[in-house]
Amino acid sequence: MATNEATSNVKRIQVRRFKPEEFPEKHYLNEEKGIWAWMTTVDHKKIGLMYLASITFFFFIAGVLAILLRTELLTPARSFMDADVYNQVFTLHGAIMIFFFLIPSVPAVLGNFVLPMQLGAKDVAFPRLNLASFYIYVIGALFTFFAIFTGGVDTGWTFYTPYSATTGGNVMAMTFGVFILGFSSILTGLNFIVTIHKMRSPGITWNRLPLNLWGLYATSIIQILATPVLAITLLLLTMERLLSIGIFDPALGGDPVLYQHFFWFYSHPAVYIMIVPGFGIISEVISTFSRKVIFGYWAIALSSLAIAFIGFLVWGHHMFTAGQSSLANMVFSFLTFLVGIPTGIKIFNWLATMYKGSIDMKAPMLYAMVFLFLFTIGGFTGIMLGALSVDIHLHDTYYVVAHFHYVMMGGMVMAFFAGLHYWWPKMFGKMYSEFWARIACAILFIGFNMTFLPQFVMGAQGMPRRYFNYIDQFQSFHVFSTIGAYVMSVAFLIMAAYLLHSLLKGKRAPSNPWGSRALEWQSSSPPPLHNFHHVPVIINGPYDYHKPMSEFQLGIAASHNGHHHHGEEAVTVDKSEKEQA
């Protein structure tokens, strides 16, 4: 408990314990009914679920595209689609996965759902803006579909000029879709930053902020600062195409390398938009399932910010062979290695958190451990690619493809699944089959490594990426990789089946099935429309497993909704008005 009562800016508040109601009859899912209530809702939880439905749809589409790609690559020449179709399919796989799945996945789905609850707030700071972000996302998606059905896009998700300026298809509609999408991302980031600053419950000081929120905070900063650059780039691209102003097209006096600088200035930080919130989830999950104080709270929190900051300065490592100066290459290579250090620190901190813990190998923890293994491989191969001379050999080969799939899918998607399984009971008030969840996780792990480990080898042997035909020596690797992709799709089918079963017929979940100390678990499952029937008061850190549970369920005694609950004890807490930052 806070003990600085001697200072003048301390006021005393009466708190008492609020035990969450088990199996509530009224909750956010049934308090308002009907499709219109969903479409006009400003409830962050429902908006989170609408995002979840959307990204699941896009993940499915892009996943099917991936299976088509892998099937085509079973043979060195044409298997069942033409080169032009193949080029469109890999472009869409990348663009949809990145812009419509990876970027919104953790912040817009899990962040939206969890962030206000972890702060003890009723909603985000700007609930209507939050709904607007969702609709902006939908409009962006519609533009993309329009592009796909009016000629398609075959530029690769990077839209490199001058190819993107000369190829047929509807590149303009696609870039406009991504342009619109960016605003969704910016507004969500803005909303989160304001919410974290202004809407923390009494007692949530910066050093009691859950690490998940530190992750989202760092992510939001990147979203706000980097996404406008993408918007500017795409706007310049449009102006060049429509008004023939020479910016990137050498035929008009522009410079294609300039485009790459602009593009990666956004798209490299975007990698951190995707992975940093994943770090937050992993911190929550490992601490909860090890039932232990997180090791190195500040190291983890600050390393997220460090990654966000240094992440802005390493974009040039995508361009070591692009024709930028040797000096630029040297500086970018150096900074790239620096960004590896805070990432490594996190891995060690998570391991140290497990040390002497009480580890329960439930599905979320299993996904977190899969994350640790796969993401570490992604990190080490990133070190490989940061080394200048080796990158010259490996750049634009399957080695790079394997590397970013280890980071994005092995890291980010596994973290997303860890979070999804962790918060699923809170979101829907239902449990899923633990048995099938572990089976799916195991199959996914095997399938993933089967798919992408061979790609490291063929990449190092020289197999270039984005190849429709390839020379015969790589066929055995491609076949193995394709089989791995099929194995993964089996895991996804199982996951879809048990999650659907959980939604329809799942056992009702208790309010805190994992015994977590985090604030979102001190509300009912599913939570009430406004998250808590009281104003929570926080006196311990979110990972203080050595403190009794009763100290984590406190709220202001005079809450107007307090009559729903039977207070068991009244405690007086000193609260300093100015939080210690």
Binding site: A83, K292, H393, H395
Partner: protein, 313 residues
Amino acid sequence: MNRFSEFMLPPQKSTLAEHTDALFNFVNVTSIILLTGITIAIIYFAWKYRRRSENDVTPVITHNNKLEITWSVIPLILVMIVFGWGLNGYMQLTTPPADAYEIRVVGKSWLWEFHYETGFVSVNELHVPVNRPVKLVMSSDDVLHSFYIPDFRVKMDVLPNRYTSLWFEATEIGESVIFCTEYCGTAHSNMLATAHVHSADDFITWLETAGSADDSLPPAELGEQLVVRNACNTCHSSDGARLVGPTFQGLWMAEREMQDGEIIIADENYIRESILDPNARITAGYQPVMPSYAGTLNDRQIDAIIEYIKTIQ
């Protein structure tokens, strides 16, 4: 170690390959050691500290400065070694010796042209001497391409608005594959070439006689060879199959509809124009993507190709 390296990497056929491979191996070995340690720790902790009862009490360990500094500084030292090593190799890769033999390279969608000091131009066949530094000065005629020889561990993007260069010194007589590694459209994955490494004498002989052997061939046969040598067959089939461009079969003297509705007869003048200024008239249903062969093919070679097209009806 060697077997691992041989499995992972293509054969070393240039002087700089060894340096790159050594770093590749160093990073791999260090990574595998650390990854093994981390994996063992994950599995060991998960087993050793598995939950035994719901009332398990865990110790409060919030941080440990010595430990944290150790696991920050050791990786920092390791990555700085990798940085310096990589930079050193890169400086060698980007600093050609002053006496390097120069060849001009032009990337076009979707072929590679190699211009030699004698004025001879080869398409998709790079000929270089062994044990002598060779510098390639490269540019693109259209979109971005990237020139990559895995066996030599060299790669450089090829741009339309500036010259880029790379250099290597081949150490073995033989052939190596050349890839385009910057995505450039439909036939990106067919934009392959071969690097032929000759002994010093053979290279001089090849350079002196390059093209002259063609003189003794009948035009149609020469044309058939030129179609392959100049990568025409990447986009134009000889058997009626539809590729990126129209097939050669049945082309001669056929009535063709152009994109603007004009009907033309595919005679000598049309074929010649299509080779030298391909986008002047585009056959209906096809894209204007063919690069110009002006400066690549001389008049006699164009005649030979026309003779060849005449033969495939």
